[in-house]
Symmetry: C3
Subunit: 329 residues, 3 copies
């Protein structure tokens, strides 16, 4: 499999060097760990979800926010440099609207390292984005932010946010390009809050959500971002979870939230690139490599003109496959 | 049940006093009464639809518009101060594009009272909104509009209007805030005209409409407005009507248009808040009330951070339940 | 049937004369003919698809682009003034992003006549539109463009393009109005490239595409454009093709792409206006004609106020029916 790295690197180097800041981070599953629970925190190093999320928001009662914050700082300091089973240790803060975000950030600024990803729920308007960045800059200082390879993951959870999603997302991307804010990597669809906001009742088939979920994916992909699907609530229904994953995958989602470690293997297996997909990506990278040596402009592969988004998809598949093989996940 | 009013009032008073201008008006069903038919008009006082609509538009032939207008004025004058079985007596004028609206308003300005809701079909662009407001202001005078508790209900019935719906709706809301125009309460999806506009053929399953109806609900809810669903055409198919109501309700619609009084009981029953929903709203209002006494900022209820839209939903449920119980509907 | 022409003409003359530049061109099926294949090109005069597309893009290998261009020029010159079985002989160039468009246009400018329709794939942004127009103007000269009855057909094939589609389409329409660029008649949904762009996997039911296809139709119809549906890939599955056509037709699409001549009869039969639809259009035109003689303003037909889009639809049905009957297609 080592040749895959080569392909991905060579391929990627056409556009950007695969530095820490550019590498693809798979997030097939996002597993929440309430930072108020020391018992759960102790298990983090062994958790095999692509992305483990230290949770300060919905999973933590109001009375436990302070404890959760200081636990999170301790965990970040302890696990720095450790071998983790996950690819990414993220941290979800409270929303700006909750009034708790400022205290979250003040406490977190005491950690020696920043989390690999900051995760921000309930981003509702482009104006929210500017205010959130101001809070980060004031608390951490512009340099600490710019120098960090930390990624950003945001949640879309309301009707207003879904309608304004292109402007919200491009605001975050512009703050990265122009002011050095963290790089936006993924957006998560918070379907429970969304359904509560529009007054919809969730059903097993999920027909009530089809517009929201497909618009969500379309906006994510228009900006070349990962699209993370809703939680599957029924913990005992493995078959339903698998079906939900396969539907999400076939609609263009790249991963799914997990509310229990038992959901992770099914989710990650469902969102693994198929053998055909890996073969396609490898051959495309191959063709691209040969084509670059020829020095010509346009580039066709299996009857399709290859553009930048498709090449990027192929690179992501190869990097994901490489990491999955290497990490044994 | 009297305690519910207390909850709703106390709850609402945090944001605005529940004056005539702020109270929630349930519109589970909108029942059209052609104002050209004196026979139908005589039955209005006993009609039990949440909202009864004196109709000047599609339900009235061109040759009967003049009669319908003067009947509407008479009905408004006669029924003022009467006991009505409905919660609201609205009046639907002709669209701006028809060229008939100016004559409608001139005649209606002779009524001693304005209808409880003005209902305006086929609002197609934000520019329409400004022109319509100008017609109202010129005919009624700015003061008579500003002083009235009259609400506004508009119809979205074309592809263009659906695409531009956020700008249309925010134009109306801004005219209320900045110029004292009537308060926009609800938007109605005119699916027959919409389907004719895009050339779609309506089927029983309604899959051809899923994007339009779900986008419609999302925009309504982003602006905290009621979302009123399509007409169900087959008068004899009660089972189909009930299924259509339940689907609409589960998608976030708050009510449905009725083309015959026989449809009203099924519609209103389907859109009644469930016992669980009322219990949720009551408990949330309770928790909010206790929380306010404690004086703290953020507020969590059953594992969810409570924001303004959710609190508003709870208040609306309580006010609706109160009126339904009080009105025997 | 001759009376239908009369109706359509009389009807249309209220708004615009039915000159070559205004007439409705049915495009129930779009059949691709790779311009690299002389064998296929020889069959063009007998092809019965409403619209036959000389193809320079995806259907032509990179190494054959030059041959395809000069074949296309020869075909345009030879077939000028010939009796063709199709209503329109279009020509699809390469996308702007491919870097091949400039060479396409340079070669095509040598043809004595322009194609009846220029077809442009992968229009991704409103900025693309301006650049494409500049290329046309520079190559052909503004006058040759303005003087030609050539129509424009564009492809929407990415997440970004779908989100920005209203601005893309109105850019093209404005270039026609303000600068005399070709008149935009139709937009085609390129579902394979779209699915590749969002990472979706196409299924037989096509649920993964419902948001994209229905938004696509809504935007087309908001601008009164034809909406051309996806390719049906399985050449042997006639029943599946017919179902796909009927679904598209009932959703508001006006035609469908064909990748093989064998698909054309099924597609064209499915997209033919029904007898009821023709009767509706004829009666509406009749009523409109009588109404115009009466000289009054508003106009009602079978209980519905008739506005410009509906009248236009009726005219299009009549023109299409006339051409289908006349052309024996």
């Amino acid at each position: 499999m080592t040749s895959l790295v080569g392909y991905a690197r060579r391929c990627a180097s056409q556009f950007a060097s695969v530095s820490e800041k550019a590498k693809y981070v798979p997030r097939r599953s996002l597993l929440y760990v309430p930072a108020s629970s020391e018992k759960m925190l102790n298990k983090v190093p062994l958790m095999k979800s692509d992305c483990v999320v230290l949770e300060l928001e919905d999973g933590v009662a109001l009375t436990s926010k302070a404890v959760a914050r200081s636990n999170a700082v301790k965990t970040l300091n302890q696990l720095q440099g450790s071998m983790l089973s996950c690819f990414e240790l993220g941290l979800r803060v409270n929303s700006f609207a909750s009034g708790l975000l400022e205290d979250d950030l003040k406490e977190l600024s005491k950690a020696e390292v920043l989390p690999a990803a900051f995760m921000i729920p309930k981003v509702d308007t482009p104006e929210d984005v500017a205010t959130i960045y101001d809070l980060f800059r004031t608390t951490f200082g512009a340099n600490r932010i710019t120098d960090s390879p930390t990624r950003l993951v945001i949640w879309i959870e309301s009707a207003r946010a879904l309608l304004d999603m292109p402007r919200i997302v491009s605001s975050v991307i512009n703050l990265h390009r122009n002011s050095g804010f963290f790089k936006l990597d993924a957006v998560v669809f918070g379907s429970d809050d969304f359904c509560a906001d529009i007054g919809a009742i969730r059903t097993a088939e999920g027909l009530e959500n089809i517009y929201a979920r497909q618009r969500f994916v379309t906006v994510c992909k228009a900006f070349q971002l990962q699209a993370i699907d809703s939680v599957y609530i029924d913990l005992k229904d493995e078959e339903g979870l698998r079906e939900s994953c396969l539907q999400g995958h076939s609609w263009g989602f790249t991963g799914k939230q997990a509310i229990h470690p038992s959901q992770v293997p099914i989710i990650q297996d469902s969102y693994k690139p198929s053998a055909e997909r890996v073969e396609w990506a490898k051959s495309l990278a191959d063709a691209f490599s040969m084509h670059q040596q020829g020095g010509t402009g346009a580039f066709s592969f299996r009857g399709q003109m290859i553009d930048r988004p498709l090449l990027l998809q192929a690179m992501n598949v190869l990097q994901m496959q490489e990491r999955i093989m290497g990490g044994g996940l």
